[in-house]
């Protein structure tokens, strides 16, 4: 049995029709596409981090420290565009989702393998366009990642190319979502009932719907920016009868749901990790599955809470503020279910669980500060201050990115067939967690003190907070380097990990590590639920 299994080529070795690099960039294997996405998004993450570090360095003292105002404007715009559109939105679904969704469903591939490849190529096209926008024309875009009118219509920097890049990235995201929805409906093994889909799949399902339904609005919005800049139609220009606030509405109709595209898959990852390391069935399977859909639905109705100070009517402000509070309910349902799963579990503190716990802690701070900005009265005070910057990074870096790191540490042995050094991984996690709070907590305080966001200069009384935050950015950088170095060493020199190092119960752990090209050597059998750990330890002893 073992000898015949070891002869099956893994997806890393099985090149298929092409050879060399072409066996990767023209592959239709969901795992190889997942790896392409994983390496692409992590590279862009590194670029975004470097720009973030430079911004923090600039802010270590008042006045111009390393760059001037215009360069700083380009920094925060490019940091935002890269991190949001090139890293966070595709991050978990396109990399870990592509790698594991089909295997968790017991399928050979996604529903549309060629469209999957097209989606990666569109991603690369969008990436190239955005890079072009940085280095050609009259300078990198300086509008902020929101491209607000009227400034974005009149700035002479290279906004045209950047918005086309964003349009194409949106197309790529839509195709991933469309593919996953169809895959979950059509490709799962016939005996797998809806309530037997791993919850990671449910979170990708909810995410897929947001991607399909919200992203086209971003598409038309950035196209309108392009058309306004080239033809001057005036749909958002008050001099020609247009209304700039309408732009903000259109932009946030996508961009608020987009934060759920970012965070819901991370919630799915956390939901996979927690029961495995608590050795307990997930608490409230149906509630967690439905809360993903609940977040997707309610999250689509709250966009105008970004616009409380834009001059909307008070009625609109009240309604959107109320709806914003509603989103907290499904999010809290998830948090309580995770905590209930941990309660009286036999908890094993391995690195993936540490990241999941960090997610719960940091995302809770992010979520609760979200209620401060979501309630109309307090928002007037903290709108466009560092409080918003802190809140956002607590949810997206503390949430999505920690969730992704947790997923990387959880699925690493399955992807590479080897195990990283767990002690170093734990140390790196500790440094990251401390550095994260040193970096972002002062921002919440600075914001309440009144420090506006997007300023490259500030009054002396804000300096202490900025210095602490900048030091925090260095600690985070050290943690990131150590974490990635440890994973890299694991790929090169790690111990063989075996089929199921965490004794998990979902289907990807029943196949060899790394999985073969068609995922399973024999037809997979659904012998247990995704969180049913009874007797799993015994199985692994006899392998």
């Amino acid at each position: 049995m073992n000898s015949s299994e070891s002869k099956t080529l893994s997806f890393w070795e099985d090149d298929g029709r092409f050879s060399g690099i072409f066996s990767w960039i023209f592959t239709t294997d969901h795992k190889r596409i997942g790896i392409l996405y994983l390496y692409s998004v992590l590279s862009l993450f590194a670029v975004g981090v470097v720009i973030g570090l430079l911004m923090r360095l600039e802010l270590i003292a008042p006045g111009s420290t390393i760059v001037g105002a215009q360069t700083y404007n380009a920094f925060f715009t490019v940091h935002g565009v890269i991190m949001i559109f090139l890293f966070v939105i595709p991050s978990i679904p396109a990399s870990l989702g592509n790698l594991f969704l089909p295997i968790q469903l017991g399928a050979e591939d996604v529903a549309f393998p060629r469209i999957n490849l097209l989606s990666w190529w569109l991603y690369i096209t969008g990436l190239i366009l955005i890079l072009i926008s940085l280095f050609t024309g009259q300078g990198a875009p300086d509008t902020g990642w929101t491209f607000y009118v009227p400034f974005s219509e009149y700035t002479t920097t290279n906004v045209n190319v950047a918005v086309l890049g964003v349009f194409i990235l949106g197309f790529s995201s839509i195709l991933t979502g469309l593919n996953f929805i169809t895959t979950i409906h059509r490709m799962r093994m016939p005996e797998m009932k809806l309530t037997q889909i791993p919850l990671f799949g449910w979170s990708l399902y909810a995410t897929g719907w947001i991607q399909v339904l919200a992203t086209p609005i971003l598409g038309i919005t950035v196209l309108l920016i392009f058309v306004e800049r080239t033809l001057g139609i005036g749909l958002f220009d008050p001099a020609k009868g247009g209304d700039p606030v309408l732009y903000q509405h259109l932009f946030w109709i996508y961009s608020h749901p987009a934060v759920y595209i970012m965070v819901v898959p991370a919630m799915g990852v956390v939901t996979e990790i927690i029961p495995v390391f608590a050795r307990k069935h997930i608490f409230g399977y149906k509630a967690i599955a439905l809360s993903s859909l609940g977040i997707a639905f309610a999250g689509s109705l709250v966009w105008a809470h970004h616009m409380f100070t834009s001059g909307m009517s008070d009625t609109a402000v009240m309604i959107f503020s109320f709806l914003t509070f509603i989103v907290a309910i499904p999010s809290a349902v998830k948090i309580f279910n995770w905590v209930a799963t941990l309660y009286k579990g036999s908890i094993v503190l391995e690195p993936p669980l540490l990241y999941a716990l960090a997610f719960i802690f940091l995302f809770s701070i992010g979520g609760l500060t979200g209620l401060v900005v979501g309630s109309a009265g307090t928002d007037i005070h903290v709108h466009d201050t560092y409080f918003v910057v802190g809140h956002f990074h607590y949810t997206i870096f503390g949430g999505t990115v920690f969730g992704m790191f947790g997923g990387l540490h959880y699925w690493f042995p399955k992807i590479y067939g080897k195990m990283y050094n767990k002690k170093v991984a734990t140390t790196a996690w500790g440094i990251l967690f401390i550095g994260f709070n040193v970096l972002y907590f002062p921002m919440l305080v600075l914001g309440i003190m009144g420090m506006p966001r997007r300023y490259f200069d500030y009054l002396p009384e804000y300096q202490l907070g900025h210095v602490i935050s900048t030091v925090g950015s260095w600690i985070v950088a050290v943690g990131l380097i150590l974490m990635f170095y440890n994973l890299y060493r694991g790929i090169k020199k790690g111990e063989p990990a075996g089929k199921n190092p965490w004794n998990a119960a979902t289907l990807e752990w029943t196949t060899q590590s790394p999985p073969p090209k068609l995922n399973f050597i024999k037809e997979p059998q659904l012998t247990r639920g995704p969180y049913d750990y009874k007797g799993i330890e015994d199985d692994t002893q006899y392998q």
Binding site: I181, R186, V212, L213, I220, L224, I233, L235, K240
Partner: protein, 200 residues
């Protein structure tokens, strides 16, 4: 072990319908703008709407509806195994698409000839509501025209696939999905036509 090459018919349809949702929402953003500005400038929209040529619009509506009919017939023809008829009907659909675009070209050309195009001096002298009306007119019919153009290319591609027997009476989902796309393009026009030519 070889890949299972049998196609998932329902899966292909689900994928297409999801894509159609995205198209509806893409235009949805523009319909939102239209409704807000109609509410804000009802009189200017009324006056500007009078200047559009209802005969051009009606002709184009008939052309597009007929093309949807021939598209639907071509699917049935292929399902019944009549490859030749299917190809003739697809060609008719494509020709009607070109007639639509030519008509649109004449209509736009006449407007541009009168100095009414985005950012033109003549247009900028008019009331703000009319600037917005014509702005929306060009953006929405322009985006729709682009979809007609893309649609006719797709029809051309499936026509070639049918000719090469890559799409057949037992595996006709490509033609059916093209038909779905074409009906969507048609349907968007069914909303654009009254909004610009009739109700204002």
């Amino acid at each position: 072990m070889t890949h299972n090459t049998s196609k998932d018919y329902i899966g292909a349809k689900i994928g297409m319908w999801l894509f159609l949702f995205t198209e509806i929402l893409l235009f949805g953003g523009l319909f939102v703008l239209y409704s807000v500005y109609l509410h804000r400038y009802p009189e200017e929209f009324h006056l500007a709407g009078q200047e559009l040529n209802v005969y051009f619009g009606t002709a184009n509506t008939l052309v597009l509806l007929t093309s949807s009919f021939s598209m639907a017939l071509s699917i049935t023809a292929l399902q019944k195994g009549n490859k030749k008829l299917c190809m003739i009907l697809l060609t008719i659909t494509m020709i009607l698409a070109c007639v639509f675009l030519f008509n649109k070209y004449l209509e736009w050309g006449a407007k541009i000839h009168h100095g009414i195009y985005p950012d033109s001096p003549t247009l900028l002298e008019r009331p703000k509501g009319e600037i917005i009306f014509f702005g929306l007119y060009y953006v929405m019919t322009g985006l729709h025209g682009l979809h007609v153009l893309i649609g006719s290319f797709i029809i051309l591609i499936v026509l070639i696939l049918v000719a090469k027997n890559r799409v057949t009476s037992s595996d006709f989902v490509a033609v059916e999905n093209t038909g779905l796309y074409w009906h969507l393009v048609d349907m968007i026009w069914i909303y654009l036509f009254p909004l610009f030519y009739l109700v204002v």
